[in-house]
């Protein structure tokens, strides 16, 4: 990460951290409530959707960060996403195929898509490596 990226990260880093903490709290809190409390059907829907707010905040922050990157960094980000997104889709296909074959039954698409964030990291460094 270079100087310009660092300045953008410093500007929004606190907000991203706060958003991530909020999201994790909402995820664990919602899951805990849904697993342990006897809630009405309407309240269960509301509780289940609470983490969406955290995701929305993080998406908004991500957009702000990308908008403040320079044109070259935006290209690197685009290439990283262009690798990570189809890779996550491929992983989803692999999991579905394995399930048809009778294995990996415990995996769901909901567990595969978050891996896109993990796939993004090597994809980002690969994209940067191309322009070294």
């Amino acid at each position: 990460m270079d100087d310009s990226s660092i300045s953008v990260t410093r500007r929004y880093g606190g907000y991203v951290l706060a958003g991530a903490v909020l999201l994790m709290g909402a995820l664990f809190g919602a899951n805990w409530l849904l697993d342990t409390r006897d809630l009405s059907p309407n309240l269960r829907i509301a509780v289940a959707l609470v983490p969406v707010l955290g995701f929305a905040i993080l998406i908004g922050l991500e957009v702000q960060i990308v908008r403040h990157l320079d044109e070259f960094q935006q290209r690197v980000q685009l290439e990283a996403l262009a690798m990570a997104f189809p890779a996550a889709a491929l992983l989803g296909y692999v999991v579905e195929s394995l399930q048809k074959a009778g294995v990996a039954q415990e995996w769901t698409v909901g567990r595969v898509w978050p891996l896109m964030f993990l796939l993004y990291v090597p994809a980002y460094f690969l994209a940067r490596w191309r322009y070294r």
């Binding site: 320079d70 960094q73 940067r128 322009y131």
Partner: protein, 66 residues
């Protein structure tokens, strides 16, 4: 696309970080332009031209493709 950016920068004894700061871009961007792995947008090319007080074609050589 080839560029004379590294030479022009060296003539002014600027580091990549210093040039990046003057342009308002990242050092990584300057490096990618200097190595010819990234072609800057027209607005950025104009900013470079103004900074070095040269026409764009004195900094960049599009080669055969131009």
């Amino acid at each position: 696309m080839k560029s004379r950016l590294r030479v022009l920068r060296a003539e002014r004894e600027w580091s990549q970080a210093e040039l990046a700061e003057r342009l308002g871009v990242s050092r990584q961007s300057v490096n990618a332009i200097e190595t010819g792995r990234y072609d800057p947008s027209l607005p950025l090319a104009f900013r470079l031209a103004r900074l070095f007080d040269l026409p764009i074609e004195a900094i960049f050589d599009p080669g055969e493709s131009g």
